[in-house]
């Protein structure tokens, strides 16, 4: 089985035992999320259970590309299960993290890990090639994620630093040697409390933050999984893969010798740490997940902020500036605390915004309506971030109310309706925090999130926003006109006909069938190519690539070419899309069993009732749009999502997906077409099979 290790580790935490699932049983699903959902469907008999129930099945999946030379597809790992975070229902959901753990798991001979049950007491799992040992975690429980990882290294005789690093990994010669430190996924005190804000952390800054899986692990008494592997990953065509990797570097990417980056490109960017805090000036390097063609995080001379990237780096900065007038050490130290306590960056970032709003409204504080004795005068300093995370970890003070996130806390406080309507709670879909791509402007982001289970965190169609914004801000033109860009992108959106109106973000088009097709395409592409095959969202899809003479990126050919070089299969891009559609339907079947109905699928009130205003001279939200019949990059800020219009859009979407328009449930013909008759049978027995349309 080229690419695959051949075995999936099935852990029974209750009995501290494990068994082996033959990967071949699930190979038809491809990898990553697709295999994860298929396993969840089979093993989690009651999909309505709470995420903290021992019967919750958590999957941690790689793909055949993990641990291989496929550029920016070697390092990601997909985590799935019933979450804790979304509201009003904690949907079956997903998270994903990078780094080097996926590669170590494959090296150890495993394609993935399934976690079931609940350990009687805190445990950490030690995986060394084919040996799996359950260890008492009493001395680790209560430690932060960094201390826990370093303590496990110490227990295994692994030294810190980058000195003499070769070591025999066990007493058995066959296990071989490595210089690589064990790869560990751990929870911190926030996860140990079982909080929905709990995240999974690997190394310093790789985080599976969304969904509350840290809290699920806490409920299972699972502190950490440690992985060491000394085996290899076979591929069908080694020469072909090496050559394809070289070609990708030479012909499809920018690098420091070639010049500056272009934000519209996914794959074609140059290496560039993505951090929104002021970059330290005393030295840093870019740092990448295993196999990435151009890394996106960094390590710094001080060691503070190592491996945090993107949104994480902005979590505390605004609050630091509000208190101290400019970014101070708190901007960086606050984020390190987030990683070490193991907390969801988005939830804390916007949760702090909500806390500030409550303070300014005069309803939070000692003796106030929301009685809390934390010293809020320190909000913006490092000590406050620690105090808040400690309160959540210990379920003390306001931390007790925040166990299930800020939306449920607002509900407890009797403030949910009011604060959701005014936007004091910037949580637009399923009670989940805003991602900086306002649903009212960036339609596919909000729509894609609300028809699914979570904030999509998929940047496929908003790289052009970055490029447009920065070019407009600085007074230069983007490389492609709106008409050229939309024509290029839709040409790659196979199997759909290349209809440019799928990228018309104008207000006139915002509830159209074309926008529904856009969202549907993105759901299917993501479910297989990004979350199944595990091509990293930062690089794929590659629509516009300015390193190419025709500016056309590698999406459409790149994904299947690399997949086939590894697996020896003959998959086409369209076949991958169909596999994505299949697993998207499987996921919807799970949500249906969890209780989803069409009526639940709507945004927070402020999204429907309040326009996102932005004046002519301010930062515009610029996306392709047809204005008076002509394509341009237009400012689409200034509107809300009309409720009736959204219902019209849902009709289009459910129709395209072949789901029951009344309920949003999958129908038998659609499921049968995808070979999912058994799922149709299950839905029918539960009285939740959608009616044929």
């Amino acid at each position: 089985m080229n690419g695959y290790a051949g075995k999936i580790l099935n852990v029974d935490l209750t009995a501290h035992e494990y068994s082996v699932i033959d990967t071949a049983k699930y190979e038809k699903w491809g990898g990553g999320h697709a295999i994860g959902s298929a396993i969840f469907w089979d093993l989690c008999k009651d999909k309505t259970i709470d995420g903290r129930d021992p019967r919750n099945v958590i999957t941690i999946m790689t793909s055949p590309l993990t641990g291989t030379l496929v550029p920016s597809a070697s390092g990601r790992v997909e985590v799935q299960g019933i979450g804790l975070q979304s509201y009003p229902v904690a949907w079956y959901t997903r998270s994903n993290f990078g780094g080097r753990l996926g590669g170590q798991l494959k090296s150890a001979g495993w394609d993935g890990i399934v976690l079931q049950g609940k350990s009687p007491k805190p445990v950490w799992i030690d995986i060394l090639n084919d040996e799996v040992v359950f260890n008492d975690a009493a001395d680790l429980w209560g430690t932060d994620t960094w201390t826990a990882q370093q303590k496990i290294w110490s227990k295994l005789g692994v030294e810190r630093g980058v000195g003499d690093a070769w070591r025999q990994v066990s007493t058995k010669a066959k296990d071989g040697r490595t210089t690589q430190k064990p790869a560990i996924l751990a929870i911190g005190p926030v996860g140990e409390a079982g909080s929905s804000i709990g995240a999974l952390i690997h190394d310093a800054g790789n985080g599976g933050g969304q969904g509350g899986f840290g809290g699920v692990w806490g409920a299972k008494n699972l502190k950490a999984i440690c992985i060491q592997g000394t085996g290899g990953v076979d591929v069908a065509d080694p020469t072909g893969l090496i050559q394809a990797r070289i070609t990708a570097k030479e012909d499809w990417t920018a690098n420091d010798d070639k010049g500056p980056e272009n934000f519209a490109s996914g794959f074609g960017q140059t290496v560039s740490p993505v951090a929104f805090w002021p970059m330290p000036t005393d030295g840093m390097r870019p740092q990448a997940c295993q196999g990435c063609i151009n890394g996106c995080r960094a390590r710094y001379a001080s060691g503070v902020g190592n491996e945090s990237s993107c949104l994480e780096t902005s979590v505390y900065m605004g609050y630091d500036i509000a208190k101290n007038g400019k970014p101070t050490a708190a901007t960086y130290e606050g984020v390190d605390l987030l990683q070490s306590y193991g907390a969801n960056a988005f939830e804390i970032k916007h949760g702090l915004g909500y806390i500030r709003a409550l303070l300014e409204m005069g309803v939070l504080g000692k003796g106030k309506a929301i009685d809390s004795s934390l010293d809020y005068t320190q909000l913006g300093d490092t000590v406050f971030m620690e105090a808040l995370l400690r309160a959540i970890s210990d379920k003390m003070d306001i931390g007790a109310d925040l166990q299930d996130g800020f939306i449920r806390a607002a509900e407890k406080w009797g403030r949910l309706d009011e604060d959701w309507a005014t936007g004091a709670l910037q949580f637009p879909y399923w009670g989940l925090p805003e991602h900086s791509y306002d649903s009212r402007a960036e339609l596919e982001w909000g729509y894609g999130s609300i028809v699914g289970d979570r904030d999509i965190n998929e940047h496929d169609f908003n790289r052009i926003f970055w490029e447009n914004f920065l070019s407009a801000a600085k007074g230069y033109k983007p490389a492609l006109t709106a008409e050229q860009y939309t024509a290029l992108v839709v040409s790659k959106m196979k199997p759909l006909d290349p209809d440019p109106s799928m990228l018309d973000f104008s207000t006139e088009n915002m509830y159209s069938e074309a926008i529904a097709k856009l969202v549907s395409w993105q759901r299917h592409y993501s479910r297989f190519w990004k979350q199944g095959a595990l091509y990293c969202d930062f690089k794929y899809p590659d629509f516009e690539n300015l390193n190419r003479p025709d500016a056309s990126g590698l999406t459409g050919s790149g994904e299947p070419d690399f997949w086939n070089l590894v697996t020896g299969q003959d998959m086409t891009f369209e076949e991958g899309m169909e596999l994505g559609r299949k697993v998207w339907n499987l996921d919807n079947a799970i949500w249906t069993l969890q209780g989803r109905t069409r009526e639940m699928v709507h945004f927070a009130p402020y999204v429907h009732d309040t326009p996102m205003t932005m004046g002519e001279f301010g930062p515009n939200y610029v996306l392709p749009a047809k204005v008076d019949g002509k394509w341009e990059y237009a400012n689409v800020a200034g509107r809300k999502i009309d409720r009736d219009g959204f219902e019209e859009w849902k009709d289009h979407f459910y129709s395209i997906e072949g789901w029951d328009k009344t309920t949003g449930w999958p129908t038998r013909p659609t499921l049968a077409e995808l070979g999912l008759d058994d799922i149709a049978d299950t839905l029918e027995s539960a009285g939740k099979l959608g009616k044929e349309q």
Binding site: V235, D256, T270, N294
Partner: protein, 229 residues
């Protein structure tokens, strides 16, 4: 060396200057039962090893820690991506401050190769057919691991292949059964070809002891906002 060769040009075409400059030396008493190819035995029992005609230089401050070089190396040589079989090693500690968070351990093709000296069978040798690159003849390797232990550099650059039970090391991609490409001195190396940030460089000039770590960060790196010193 106590004596110089009597002619200006050796039989293999190497000039006297190159030979004198590039000679390494190992004790001939370390050799038994086998021969060292390309060496020259001096009357005092010192075995002179010709210098390699190719070397890898690394910029440890530029490396992004993606391990792509390691995957390419093991794939080209062994047909599998296996970090434990890679002849170049990237060692990392996520919590250390830059630049102490990454070390690149690449074979130096030493002028005085301790690994060659340590080998009892001559399996580890300077290979004349491939530009005097220090190589392991796996068929002659008896698995004593003396070469592995002998490498004096941090994270010894001679690798133990636990799957096949022999030593192996960087051969500058002279022998890559799974990569259809000309390697070795004068050819291309997998690690250099794939490195996303060009942190590895090839040279045919023997570096001094401090010369294996180089600064490969230029204007383009500065343009991204990264440090060039």
């Amino acid at each position: 060396m106590s004596e110089q060769p009597k002619t200006d040009v050796r039989e293999d075409g190497v000039t006297r200057r190159q030979f004198v400059k590039g000679l390494g030396a190992v004790s001939a008493t370390a050799v038994f039962g086998g021969t060292i190819l390309g060496g020259l035995l001096f009357p005092n029992g010192v075995m002179a090893i010709p210098a390699s005609t190719g070397y890898l230089l690394v910029d440890m401050k530029k490396c992004q820690g993606c391990n792509t070089c390691m995957m390419a190396c093991s794939l080209a040589h062994h047909g599998e991506q296996n970090l434990s079989l890679s002849r170049i090693q990237i060692v990392q500690d996520s919590w250390k401050g830059y630049p102490d968070d990454i070390g690149i351990e690449a074979c130096r093709q030493c002028k005085d190769p301790k690994c060659v000296e340590a080998c009892p069978t001559g399996a580890m040798h300077a290979d004349a057919d491939t530009g005097e690159v220090r190589l392991v003849d796996a068929d002659k390797c008896i698995g004593c691991m003396q070469c592995v232990e002998a490498c004096p550099h941090g994270s010894g650059r001679v690798i133990w292949n636990h799957e096949e039970g022999h030593a192996q090391k960087c051969d500058l991609c002279a022998n890559t059964p799974f990569w259809d490409h000309k390697g070795g001195p004068g050819g291309t190396q997998a690690c250099i070809s794939v490195c996303p940030v060009n942190a590895i460089k090839y040279t045919d000039t023997l570096p001094g002891d401090d010369g294996y770590e180089v600064n490969l960060r230029g204007k383009g790196w500065a343009a991204i906002g990264l440090s060039t010193d």
